[in-house]
């Protein structure tokens, strides 16, 4: 694994910085954002407020740290849901190709694709009210068919290979073959896909909380910061620019990391064959 791609370095660095900021915000932020202070509202940048304050007097740096944490937490759990349910389904569909089970899984997939995560969020919110949990559920449910498709698509060509037949002549069942032979060989695909879904999850969380279907106060979220800043955009554009930039940089970092990982893990670029 010599010479990792530059994009991987840049992307991983950005991602680690945001992850660190989010973790620190669990125990410490420069200011407390739950207390609103009219006296401090709309402060410019200063030694006390590094990036100024918003119209409620909350410190922007602290808001951004906590907002990033919400984004990362929602996206991470949503990727976990998608992977945890989608990958086994996709593997099962590939292992039982041509059977009824495969057909049911794939039709179910198509059906979920007909409900974009926004629609799922709308349905859940309409009944249970808005919350970060519902945002996670909406994005997570939408991730399931994505991972199922990637897993199935990666697994199908592997099932045609001779080492699968060899494993079957060694008496191994489909589930065991999926775990021992198929899963390790599609791990690259899944890792790359999870960075993509992670960044899409951050964008989706921002969109949902922007329209009020995501995390509720006092939890800070980048999307809601944007919707609160919208009326202030003429007088104080930086309130609307900063949270957006945070999203862009975070997503960019993840995508660069995904691209870099794909290049680094692509066996065609790495392995040489020793031909006779």
């Amino acid at each position: 694994m010599s010479r990792l791609p530059v994009s991987l370095w840049i992307g991983a660095t950005i991602t680690l910085i945001f992850a660190a900021l989010a973790l620190i915000s669990l125990v410490w932020t420069p200011h407390d954002i739950t207390s609103l202070s009219i006296a401090d509202r709309l402060q410019p940048r200063s030694a006390e407020f590094w990036l100024g304050t918003d119209q409620f007097g909350r410190d922007m740096v602290s808001m951004l740290m906590e907002g990033s944490r919400t984004s990362i937490a929602v996206a991470l759990v949503a990727v976990g849901i998608g992977m945890g349910l989608g990958v086994p389904l996709g593997l099962a569909a590939a292992a039982t190709r041509g059977s009824l089970l495969n057909e049911i899984i794939m039709r179910g997939n198509d059906l979920i694709f007909a409900f974009p995560s926004l629609v799922i969020a709308i349905l859940i919110t309409a009944v249970y009210g808005p919350s970060a949990t519902n945002a996670i559920l909406a994005i997570g449910i939408f991730n399931i068919p994505v991972f199922a498709r990637v897993a199935r698509g990666g697994a199908l060509p592997i099932w045609t290979l001779d080492y699968i037949l060899a494993a079957r002549t060694a008496g191994k069942g489909r589930a065991r073959i999926s775990a021992e032979h198929v899963l390790p060989n599609i791990a690259n695909l899944l890792i790359v896909q999870s960075t993509i879904q992670f960044s899409l999850g951050i964008l989706a969380e921002a969109a949902l909380s922007y329209v009020g279907l995501g995390a509720q106060p006092p939890t800070s979220s980048l999307g809601r910061m944007l919707s609160e800043a919208q009326t202030m955009i003429y007088s104080h554009p930086s309130l609307a620019v900063l949270p957006g930039l945070a999203i862009v940089v975070m997503v960019l970092g993840l995508n660069l990391m995904g691209d870099g990982l794909r290049d680094a893990l692509d066996p065609r670029l790495r392995r040489g064959r020793a031909d006779a």
Binding site: A167, G171, A274
Partner: protein, 518 residues
Amino acid sequence: MLEIDALSLSIGRTEILHDVSLSIGEGEIFGLVGESGSGKSMTALALMGLLPLRARTEGAARLDGIDLLRLPERDLCALRGNDISMIFQEPMTALNPVQTIGDQVAETLTIHGKADRAEALAVARDRLDRVGLSHIGLDRFPHELSGGQRQRVCIAAAIALHPRLLIADEPTTALDVTTQAQILDLLKGLVAEENMSLLLITHDLAVVADMADRIAVMQRGVVVETGPTRQVLAEQAHPYTRALFAASAHQPERAGNAAKDAILRVDNVHRHYPGPRQGLSRGDPVRAVDGVTFDLQRGESLGLVGESGCGKSTLTRAILGLDPVTSGTITLNGHSVYPGMARALRADVQVVFQDPYGSFNPRWRVDRIIAEPFHLLDNPPEPRPAVAAALEAVRLSPADMEKYPHEFSGGQRQRIAIARALITRPKLLVLDEAVSALDVSVRAQILDLLADLQGELGLSYLFISHDLTVVRAITDRVLVMQKGQIVEQGATEQVFTAPAHPYTQNLLAAAPTLEVTP
């Protein structure tokens, strides 16, 4: 007419071709022979000006005095398809899947401005008739045609403008023997009536022996020997030519010791698949295996020969207990073989596959790969010594167990596959095209190894192959399969020298032979 003069080619710092010189005369069939990596395809691509971007050439390749290597791209485009044409190995992927075959043949004419579309289609019809596709409409798409038919379409497109030189790069390697014979016949006929030259590139000495006026033998980017075909094959002046020739006709030393005691019995086995959908109903079921009966004796080496689609793969999977049969029985050592059979019985029959690259999980080390069949044993032995012994049995080093599959060559991988198959000490080894993907010299070594192992371990072999030479070299008895049925069986030498069934006769007549009287 074509003169290649001291052609050298390198990509980056790797030299692919070194000082290659050849000349091809008017109306001549020139055979270029070599194993994989010898640089024969690169020579052809250099002539076409279709080399990878980073390739650098030295020397010259003159077509009627014009150096093709120094020609600007525009002139090359005018030349390709017009003066020089080329067809490739893999007919299944060589045609655009979303365009009709008529358009693809006609394109050769329209692109060179020789005809408008209507005229070009008329010519396409004529050319397709000439290559034997008069029953196929111009509006058909490639996926509706067989491999042989697609190769004919490629030939029709290549000869549409009556080129001076046709380059055929392994044109029949992906095809069955009978189809191969037809395509080679077609090319021969076209050369004669068009007064065109043919550069035939192949790994198969037997193909050029039948076809070419003159040949050149290539090894690692160098032409080691060239001359009239009969002379080169008869004299075999260069050691490599001699080695290649010997390997192609190699007969391993075998002690025939088949006992009269059937280890495998296949009794009236049928395997039918549901027919293709026709509207709401289905057509007649496909009888992939249609009433096959045979016995395989202990210590015997039995060949199963047939062309693609004859049902031999389906039969193989049934014998391995991977797929169920529709009716009939398969018994191994008196026990019934079926998908739910006992693991201990599975340990008695193991398999070696064709593809030395797809046979192993690339993420597993060799020790884990070879020990995988221990899953079948209730009390498996300590894996490391057993794997070391298995590696030694196939003439590899025990230290190789620490490596990953990609660190081995194709021949070495096939040895690893054999080691894996032998680890449970099976009684029956199924060899499914086990040497078909290997170069002849490596193939000869693996055949020797198999012959030795059979003697040492008293194994029975079921040797499945489309390659008649190989089956003749290693089997005692042979079954010929066609359309799901065994049409002929008997002692190998007898079937090969005096075939009784017309299909066997066809098959043998179609197979190119390498018999040159010195």
